[in-house]
């Protein structure tokens, strides 16, 4: 099993003041896979993302990424540098900086302050930025401050920044919250496009969106995995129905 998996959460437990946000959660992600994670509020979806990205340290359990790195020993920047990108629910871009500078800072490369003091944009960086600006349809806005962009454009810019990071694994938190049906569909297309070259974990509430993605689904409940499988199997699972509809 080891070597073939990209991400392996092994019995991860996180408790906040006695409340177990994650309870011996185990989860395996194959390289190139896209996985949807669903679950009711408080099921531990966001805590799981926090553990993977190093924001929260688990009480017990390991997070194995790639060959042999245990992510629980690393902090956020170290994990980001290993190629794990995270998209937050609300678009978070650097508002006073231009679109170009936002992408520039995200671009994979040396993160040392001493390097940044002397860094000049290289031709290959310039080419990569042009490519990204085209992908996210912001070529004409490259010199505008990100603060001037519309909500949708900010979402695209943040996705551009994630692509600039060139991650192997992308964690996406509720990407379609507050989106219209058309935008939801477009986002599903975009994620599928990204998934061609990278692994993706999507946390989502919206069942229609998860169905549109058409990928393996993991249902979390009270901090551990309740069910796993295709969306059809999940929706017929009596335990899932109980959690979502029962009581």
């Amino acid at each position: 099993m080891t070597g073939a998996t990209l991400l392996y959460l092994d019995g991860v437990t996180v408790s906040f003041d006695g409340f177990k946000a994650l309870n011996a959660l185990s989860l395996v992600l194959e390289p190139g896979e896209m996985r949807a994670v669903i679950g009711p509020n408080g099921a531990g979806k966001t805590t799981m993302m926090d553990v993977i990205t190093g924001r929260t340290k688990p009480d017990t359990g390991r997070v194995v990424y790639g060959e042999n790195s245990d992510l629980t020993r690393l902090d956020e920047p170290a994990i980001a540098r290993l190629g794990i990108g995270r998209k937050f629910q609300r678009p978070t871009v650097f508002e006073p900086l231009t679109v170009h500078d936002n992408l520039m800072l995200a671009l994979a490369g040396d993160r040392n302050p001493w390097f940044a003091l002397w860094a000049r944009e290289t031709p290959s960086e310039r080419a990569r930025l042009d490519e990204l600006l085209t992908t996210i349809r912001l070529v004409d806005d490259r010199d505008r401050p990100a603060a001037d962009l519309s909500h949708g454009q900010k979402q695209w810019l943040e996705i551009g920044m994630l692509l600039a990071q060139d991650p192997r694994l992308l964690l996406v938190d509720e990407p379609v919250a507050g989106m219209s049906d058309a935008e939801t569909e477009e986002t599903a297309d975009l994620l599928r496009e990204i998934n061609r070259t990278r692994s993706v974990v999507v946390v989502e509430h919206d069942m229609a969106f998860v169905r549109a993605l058409g990928v393996k689904v993991t249902v979390l409940h009270e901090g551990s995995v309740l069910a796993e499988g295709s969306i059809d199997r999940i929706q017929d699972d009596p335990r899932v129905i109980e959690v979502y509809l029962g009581r």
Binding site: F94, L97, R111, A116, L117
Partner: protein, 380 residues
């Protein structure tokens, strides 16, 4: 574009103004209406030192979001380093005519120069220490504070505590820095008598040059990729972590640079005002310096210089007319600026002036148009 123009204007004002004043002092007769009296020269020299301090504060507050309420400590430490050199220059001209020991040490009965006074008979050593001592203190402070993710008001409070603690320490006679009297009665710097007017003109011009150099340096830092990361850290620190940046190391570098710039400001200040004592560490001084930056416009560099000079000019005029009113005036000024001019005086300029950069249209950018037609040709 505008930032570049602003830099040139600021540099021109500082250097041109300093040279003009020097000329008006040296080349005109004292009776002439155009004559710049000596007290004006030393006042301007003092303002320029404050402007260096303001620049240092703007670098950390304006660009990295670190609201320092203790930067006066770095300024005062730089001042003490220079004061120690100036004390050693007095030599046998002191009251006790001791060739090595400063008067205050003889007075408290010391008969040997403490080890930490060694080397201060050399000018270069004192200048190096004026940067190194604030630098080392800032590094130690920043290392612990930024690594343990202390930020916001908590960080401001401990910077305030830092300068207050130093003030109490420097008040003690057995620290060997002159206790509450500090150091004064300086005679000469590098052989130039401090009471000669050409010396004060020279010091004022050097201060203007150092201020310009500090301005160019901070401008280059904030305009680089480093400066953009700082702005990102200032506004959305957690996001920079998920991009793989370590905000604490960026803060540490800028904090260190800022402390050293403040130290140089202090070193230039002491020979021009002729005294350094522990009251320079008073928390109120540091807070006043933050107000200069707020008035001028935080995060603009030029605004820090402008604010420091204008507020201190107002202080000089007001304290000579109505001394007891000053504290109320600066308090009111701070409240008014915070409420009505959140971007300071520089904010007035940028909101009143029309935008310099015109909206780019596809036709105006031939490169993109050409790329588009090329792309459609290939596709076709």
């Amino acid at each position: 574009m505008r930032a570049e123009r602003l830099t040139v204007v600021t540099l021109g004002c500082v250097l041109g103004g300093a040279v003009l004043l020097a000329a008006l002092n040296l080349l005109t007769a004292p009776a002439s209406d155009l004559h710049a009296p000596n007290f004006v020269i030393s006042l301007v020299g003092k303002y320029l030192c404050y402007a260096i301090l303001a620049l240092a504060i703007d670098l950390v507050w304006g660009y990295a979001g670190i609201l320092t309420l203790g930067h006066g400590a770095f300024f005062a430490l730089g001042g003490y380093a220079m004061g120690m050199y100036l004390m050693r220059q007095i030599g046998v001209r002191g009251v006790y005519a001791n060739p090595t020991l400063p008067d205050f040490m003889v007075f408290i009965g010391w008969n040997k120069l403490p080890w930490y006074w060694y080397g201060f008979d050399h000018f270069w050593f004192a200048v190096a220490m004026a940067m190194l001592v604030p630098g080392i203190l800032a590094f130690a402070f920043g290392w612990f504070a930024f690594r343990s993710r202390v930020s916001g008001v908590y960080l401001s409070i401990i910077t305030q505590a830092l300068t207050y603690a130093l003030m109490l320490a420097f008040f003690r006679n057995d620290m060997g820095f002159g206790g509450n009297n500090g150091m004064t009665d300086f005679k000469e710097i590098l052989g130039f008598p401090l009471n000669r007017e050409t010396t004060s003109v020279g010091l004022m011009l050097i201060t203007a040059l150092v201020l310009s150099a500090a301005f160019v340096l901070t401008h280059a830092m904030t305009g680089s990729r480093f400066g953009k990361v700082l702005i990102a850290v200032r506004d959305t620190e957690s996001r920079t972590r998920f991009l793989g940046y370590r905000p604490e190391s960026y803060k540490l570098v800028v904090w260190l640079a800022s402390a050293m710039i403040a130290g140089i400001g202090g070193a230039l200040y002491v020979p021009q005002v002729g005294i350094i004592n522990p009251s320079e560490f008073a928390p109120g001084n540091s807070i006043e310096a933050v107000i200069w930056v707020a008035v001028g416009g935080r995060g603009t560099l030029a605004g820090a210089v402008l604010g420091a000079i204008l507020v201190n000019l107002a202080k000089t005029m007001l304290t000579s007319a109505l001394p007891e009113v000053w504290l109320f005036a600066i308090g009111a000024l701070f409240i008014l600026v915070t409420l009505f001019l959140p971007r300071g005086i520089m904010g007035l300029f940028t909101t009143c002036l029309p935008a310099v950069v015109p909206e780019a249209t596809p036709d105006a950018v031939p490169g993109i148009a050409a790329a588009k037609s090329a792309a459609s040709e290939i596709a076709g």
